[in-house]
């Protein structure tokens, strides 16, 4: 067990080192590969962070440009995804500040926001419908959550990040991350109940 964990840790560290080296060289082939590899995760994070698919698309492109320009700042003691999400997060905050002087709070409770979340699956028609309904309910619930809670939930349950990694991305203490996850899940409760009723 320990040997397996050690193997994975080593290979991840090696991958981070290779990415850091490539980013310092501004290797376009490496960036192409990274864009392909992280497209889904980054876009999902941005969609939930901003609440707007259009804005997420714009920030998606800007994030990769920033990765190219600031690649030399990537520290290979972190995983690439942690750094990537931190870059995307800072860009989003910058964008919100330019738009209106605010932090991530500026992304909260915009009634016009809708998540463009398609539902897919390979299950039966009934399961598919149920799943779609549940996804829609959760997506609707997510819209009403403060952006900080949304972010914590997405990073934890969609990206599978550890609490420490989320704290690194969001630049908040570990206790705050725990509290955001707990509060986020609690706030989603009525929406899940709505889906199962």
């Amino acid at each position: 067990m320990n040997a397996t964990a050690c193997y994975f840790e080593n290979s991840m560290a090696q991958e981070s080192t290779e990415i850091a080296r490539g980013l310092r060289r501004r290797d376009p082939d490496l960036l192409d590969r990274l864009i392909e590899q992280y497209q889904r995760r980054l876009l999902r994070y941005l969609v939930y962070l901003t609440g707007s698919r259009e804005l997420a698309d714009d920030l998606f492109q800007e994030t990769w440009i920033r990765v190219l320009e600031r690649g030399h700042q990537f520290n290979d003691k972190y995983t690439f995804s942690t750094w990537l999400f931190a870059v995307a997060r800072n860009l989003t905050i910058d964008y919100m500040r330019r738009k209106q002087p605010a932090s991530l709070d500026g992304l909260l409770n915009d009634e016009e926001k809708t998540f463009d979340v398609p539902a897919t699956g390979q299950a039966s028609a009934f399961d598919l419908t149920m799943q779609r309904e549940q996804n829609e309910q959760i997506s609707a619930g997510m819209e009403h959550l403060p952006a900080e809670y949304r972010e914590a939930l997405v990073l934890r349950f969609q990206e599978g990040m550890s609490l420490e990694e989320i704290a690194d991305v969001a630049q908040v203490p570990l206790g705050t991350v725990k509290s955001r996850i707990y509060r986020g899940l609690s706030a989603l409760e009525p929406w899940v109940k709505g889906a199962t009723l």
Binding site: R26, P28, L31, D32, I35, E36, Q39, R40, L42, L43, R44, V47, D57, F60, Q61, W64, I65, L68, E69, V117, P118, A119, T120, G121, Q131, Q134, N135, Q137, I138, S139, L153, V154, R156, F157, Q158, S162, L163, K178, I181, Y182, L185, S186, L188, E189, V192, K193, A195, T196
Partner: protein, 160 residues
Amino acid sequence: MKNDAHERARKLIALADATTVSPSDRAWMATHMEECAACRAFADNVRETIHALRGIPIAAERSLVSTTQARVRRRALELQRQRERIWLVSVSCIAVTLGTLLSTFALWRGFAWLGERTQLNSSIWQVGFLVLCVMPALVVGIILLASDTHLSDHTGSYQG
């Protein structure tokens, strides 16, 4: 039952898969969950929420990915050219500085030699050296000033 107990249980449920729950907490949780229907329902909801969150797919469109890749490549090329230009300018600056230092030294020696040969007072050839040094800057200054004043007015009219 105290609200604190429910909150403690709910926090443990929400963070169960992210943190290590101690055996004592685990035992306390088991007892609490047996007694508390509300926390059991919360646990079910959390499970469903997490399942739903993991099941929501969002994919980037192919065009977005290819546009991003093209933009990144273009920007990489721009940055490379910019770096090359900076390198060229830096090398030129170093070459000019070295050239200036060497030529100043040579000129100084030349003026000293000339002053010695013509038996001039040292302050005279030193002033001559200074004039020669500032001459290019003076000429350029005059040209620049003239280009934006009535001196450059080719029609000859003066609008005061």
